[in-house]
């Protein structure tokens, strides 16, 4: 019983990160229609920037949120404004845009990775912050992982309320459902898409900051997280932000259970779920 609870808590701790990463991708893919293969690179940038700020400038990792968040947001916004907006206006159909934007994001992945490896080199980086043990339900977790879960949950819920309640949030949902008609309502589509891309990048950056508090970070860490994000987005239902949030926790718990059985199997299990899902229920658990 105690071990079961431990496994579930470990799953929630992992799931919070997955939820955050997947919500970011969900905005970029579900609204802006960019299956952003370079999503994980923003996680890597967030992680390594936090590491540098902490080890070289002694800036508290949680404080670097206010640096990493806005920086990755602006980076994402500019990338959409320059690259994807242009691709969108030159694409004759949504299908063509989806494939060309995915290829372009592959290009971004290599560009960002190369620039990062010049800046940070190939070494695995890590630091110790809030690594104090906390006793929970008879098991021991380190405090930084609990902080991670707290941040991911607060950001997830705040963003959900933003999208559900505010004028801009409603414009984001309308743009996801029918961009041309949203334009007829007065929504500046190019702005909303760039904002969504920026928000997505910021969520990745913040996730990277949180990851760096618990795990080692390095230049080629991104792709694995991108794949996890894609799996969660499909699991939660394409375009559904609550779906991505819940899907993140579901995959986190599955991952934790599999890791308990055999740590080497978690990625294999994720792929298996992904393939089964595509075969059995491609619309996801909260799919429309």
């Amino acid at each position: 019983m105690v071990t079961f609870l431990n496994v579930v808590i470990a799953g929630l701790l992992l799931g919070g990160l997955y939820a955050l990463i997947a919500m970011g991708l969900s905005l970029q893919y579900g609204v802006a229609r960019v299956l952003n293969i370079s999503h994980g690179e923003f996680i890597m940038l967030g992680g390594l920037t936090t590491w540098t700020l902490y080890t070289a400038f002694d800036i508290n990792p949680l404080v670097s949120l206010v640096i990493v968040g806005p920086t990755t947001f602006i980076l994402g916004f500019i990338i959409h404004r320059t690259l994807f907006k242009r691709l969108l206006s030159s694409s004759t159909s949504p299908g063509i845009f989806e494939s060309s934007s995915m290829l372009a994001s592959f290009g971004l992945l290599f560009m960002i990775q190369n620039i990062a490896s010049i800046a940070w080199g190939p070494e695995i980086r890590g630091y110790s912050y809030l690594a104090v043990p906390v006793h929970l339900a008879g098991a021991v977790f380190s405090a930084n992982r609990l902080v991670t879960l707290g941040f991911a949950t607060v950001i997830g819920l705040a963003f959900y309320l933003f999208v559900a309640r505010t004028r801009l949030g409603k414009a984001i949902r309308a743009a996801a459902q029918d961009p041309a008609t949203a334009g007829l309502m007065g929504v500046n589509i190019n702005n909303v898409l760039a904002l969504c891309f920026g928000f997505g990048a910021a969520m990745a950056g913040i996730a990277g900051m949180l990851i760096s508090m618990c795990y080692p970070v390095h230049v080629v860490m991104g792709l694995e997280y991108t794949i996890i994000a894609i799996i969660v987005v499909v699991l939660g239902g394409l375009g559904s932000i609550p779906g991505s949030f819940i899907g993140g926790f579901v995959l986190g718990i599955i991952g934790s259970v599999v890791t308990y059985i055999d740590p080497g199997l978690s990625l294999v299990a994720y792929y298996l779920i992904f393939i089964l899902l595509l075969l059995v229920r491609p619309t996801g658990i909260m799919g429309k």
Binding site: R173, A174, M185, I189
Partner: protein, 234 residues
């Protein structure tokens, strides 16, 4: 109020409108009729900014609007109620209506406008929490019209508002459109129900293969031989 001057519009390399001119004056109902594929939707989409014209100009209240994005054109006071309703399927009735009030000026007064829309379509108030995709066709059309009014427009362009509706509801829609004009809203109406539109229209244009072939006041077009043969089945 609205002036379309000699526009040509293309889909890629295929031309859909040739040298089309049209005028709508303040507080008029102007009908635009024509067979399937004549270019009626294309013309409205050119006016609202979805399809920029290759040549010619569009003026609204004396200002050039061709080349502006749709979101800027709706801000100037043109509301386009598109063909096929185009509701946001996963949003509720009230959220769809709210989206209609997205432009800043209208957003400030959205509670007031919403009350007026619910007075006009009481059924929508009962359905306000329901997702748009679960509504009947008639209810969807009412949401589309209500949403179009939420921006408090000066000019409303309707693209086949009665399409697929039962005769009783069609009559209701025409009655509502007349009521809007009585409240000072100018109407540009594209319709398949040619007789009913000509009866309420002050003036009308006939579009054939992307060209305007006839124009005149509504009543006299009803007596026109070409109209009788081609559109009224007489």
């Amino acid at each position: 109020m609205l002036e379309v001057n000699n526009i040509d519009t293309f889909y890629g390399k295929a031309q859909a409108l040739w040298d089309v001119s049209l005028r709508v004056d303040e507080a008029e109902i102007v009908a635009l009729i024509g067979a399937n594929g004549a270019g009626k939707t294309t013309l409205l989409n050119t006016v609202c900014g979805l399809l920029p014209p290759a040549s010619g100009s569009v003026e609204f209240l004396g200002q050039r609007i061709d080349g502006l994005a749709p979101h800027s054109i709706v801000e100037l006071g043109i509301s386009h109620i598109p063909e096929g309703r185009r509701l946001f399927p996963h949003m509720s009735v009230s959220e769809n209506l709210e989206m209609g009030a997205y432009v800043h000026e209208a957003w400030k007064r959205k509670e007031e406008t919403l009350r007026q829309v619910y007075e006009m379509f009481p059924i929508l108030q009962e359905r306000q929490g329901q997702l748009a995709r679960t509504l009947s066709g008639g209810e969807q059309q009412m949401v589309a019209m209500g949403r179009g009014l939420m921006s408090r427009p000066r000019l409303c362009m309707f693209d086949e508002p009665s399409y697929g509706l039962a005769p009783l509801l069609v009559a209701e829609i025409f009655r509502i459109i007349q009521g809007l004009r009585d409240h000072g809203i100018t109407i540009l109406l594209v319709e398949q129900s040619v007789r009913q539109s000509l009866e309420i229209a002050d003036r009308a244009y006939v579009l054939e293969n992307g060209r305007i072939v006839l124009e005149g006041d509504g009543k006299s077009l009803l007596k026109e031989e070409l109209i009788k043969k081609a559109y009224l089945g007489l």
